[in-house]
Symmetry: C2
Subunit: 326 residues, 2 copies
């Protein structure tokens, strides 16, 4: 199995290729070679017989063609400009998120009959915008309210059409908000959902900009990587023409997050969460999905966490070496 | 009011500019100039002080910029490759229907603050594909099953995002199947819906490839032009972020079409309809919309015909000079 990963330098990309290398196979087929592409170049990843790295912006002329020169049978397309940046920089968002994806699809199509790779596309629940029901069903329409969500929705439509025409064997997975994101606090509006757990678990303060009743939709980084790998091995004949899926996840309030933190790490950890209301974040989050039914994906074997206690334990195992220092 | 019409040489485009010229104004503002653009060049249309014509493929480099050089305040974007051609010629469909629309939107955006034209986009019920309910509600999701429908759905998403960002004041109208299309029978799978009325009304035979129980969704050319003009004058603040509308129309079976033909033109006209079943057309039509609720558009003042008798009378008035020759 020859594999291409775009956006391999991102948080999920790094976890994905580490998991693939550790497993050595996908869908019971041994991995013979893997090309890891990222704008950043992945200079910290050591190439090997099986693994090559390349600095690549897939939206630049000729780059998509060179990435699929070796005819990868499996493509994980994770490369994207994130939500906040796509909103702040309109041109960059469309160039990377839409033109980059289309360049890859076109490069594949132009190779012609006989080449039809599995194409796993990391989509997002940002394809949905208010008004939304409390629990979103599998047939919820595409109504993005951000440029990022618009770009992901357009790519989902392309994925379906290119699959229907037999150019790719595509599957789009709408990832929940990832928590607990490792690393430093970032400026994404959704960042606090991770910050209020990750920082106290490391003994430092975190800011909570909304009240405890705010409900949102989550999966751990480990679950997200599991979704991506599961999508690579899935029998896509079960998808029919509708190639993008709402994934299972955990619907939880901020209050439930904090209760889980209290159970796992005690009152001292919860006390590190400082309440600094931010009406702008509150307003943005008001239009975000709160919960999904995700029956279709569950029937197809996708599995997520069942509680925030579990999500916190996953974080302690995967990011803190199994040791809680607080 | 300075107006641009793309696809002005098409059936609806010609009826649209004729109606605009006859009215002399849109939304109570006098029309000062009108640029009619079409791939074909419109050599049969005489330019005047107010009307200019141009041969233009908006998907070609620089064309979109030149079309909006005079900063039209109102743009009717009708230019498109039709469904059958977009399916047969994948590259042409995406180039004209997606890249052409995007080029126009980008040319507008790049002019910058202060320029935000009303942008009326001719979309299609082809953005919906099976499984579909018997009556489609306003919140039905985008699930196209053709490349044409995919391209229209993508343009709707762009229209919404460009409107939300303040680059255009966009409105997308999902036109029903137009019947009775004037002119010669064409090879579109939906062509027979018009042929079985238009040809007998002119005293010639027509072929019916499906059985009489087939139900579909219709408006006359006159109603379609009415929708387009109404969209130009609408208060778009009522649309919110969801900028594309299911339009009112008439849900009718082939049997109901033929009954109307019998009432208006007699048994002799109906006898000119020859039944030649075509399983491929039957299968394609099985995935098409049969009826819409269209409450939102009705509340916004869009009006369609209430019966096929009316649609036939409109055809006799507009295309046959008011005289029935059969």
């Amino acid at each position: 199995m020859n594999i291409l990963v775009t956006g391999a330098g991102g948080m999920l990309g790094r976890k994905l290729f580490a998991k693939l290398l550790a497993a050595g196979s996908v869908a019971e087929r041994p991995i013979t070679s893997m090309l890891l592409a990222d704008m950043s170049g992945l200079s910290d990843v050591s190439p090997s017989d099986r693994v090559q790295t390349v600095a690549a912006d897939v939206s630049q002329r000729g780059v998509a063609e060179s990435l699929i020169e070796s005819r990868p049978e499996l493509i994980f397309h994770l490369a994207a400009v994130v939500s906040g940046e796509a909103e702040a920089d309109f041109e960059k968002g469309y160039r990377v998120n839409l033109d980059g994806t289309r360049a890859l699809l076109e490069a594949i199509r132009k190779i012609g009959p006989g080449y039809c790779p599995r194409f796993v596309f990391a989509s997002s629940v940002a394809v949905f915008g208010s008004p939304l029901p409390d629990v979103i069903e599998d047939d919820q329409g595409l109504t993005p309210l951000t440029s990022y969500g618009t770009q992901k929705a357009i790519c989902e439509l392309l994925l379906a059409d290119y699959s229907r025409r037999g150019f790719i064997d595509g599957i789009g997975i709408r990832l929940p908000t990832i928590a607990i994101r490792p690393g430093k606090p970032n400026k994404a509006a959704s960042g606090f959902f991770s910050n209020i757990l990750r920082e106290p678990l490391a003994g430092t303060e975190a800011i909570l900009p909304v009240d405890e009743s705010v409900r949102h939709w989550f999966a751990s980084p480990r679950a997200a990587v599991g979704f991506i790998v599961h999508a690579a091995a899935l029998d896509t004949s079960k998808l029919g023409f509708h190639r993008s899926l709402n994934l299972p996840g955990l619907s939880a309030t901020v209050g439930e997050q904090l209760e889980a933190l209290r159970r796992v790490a005690g009152e001292r950890a919860v006390a590190l969460v400082k309440r600094v209301p931010d009406p702008q974040i509150r307003r943005m989050i008001g239009s975000w999905p709160r919960s999904f039914d995700a029956r279709r994906a569950k029937e197809l074997g996708f599995v997520a966490e069942a509680s925030f206690d579990e999500i916190i334990r996953v974080h302690i195992e995967d990011e803190l070496g199994g040791v809680l220092r607080v």
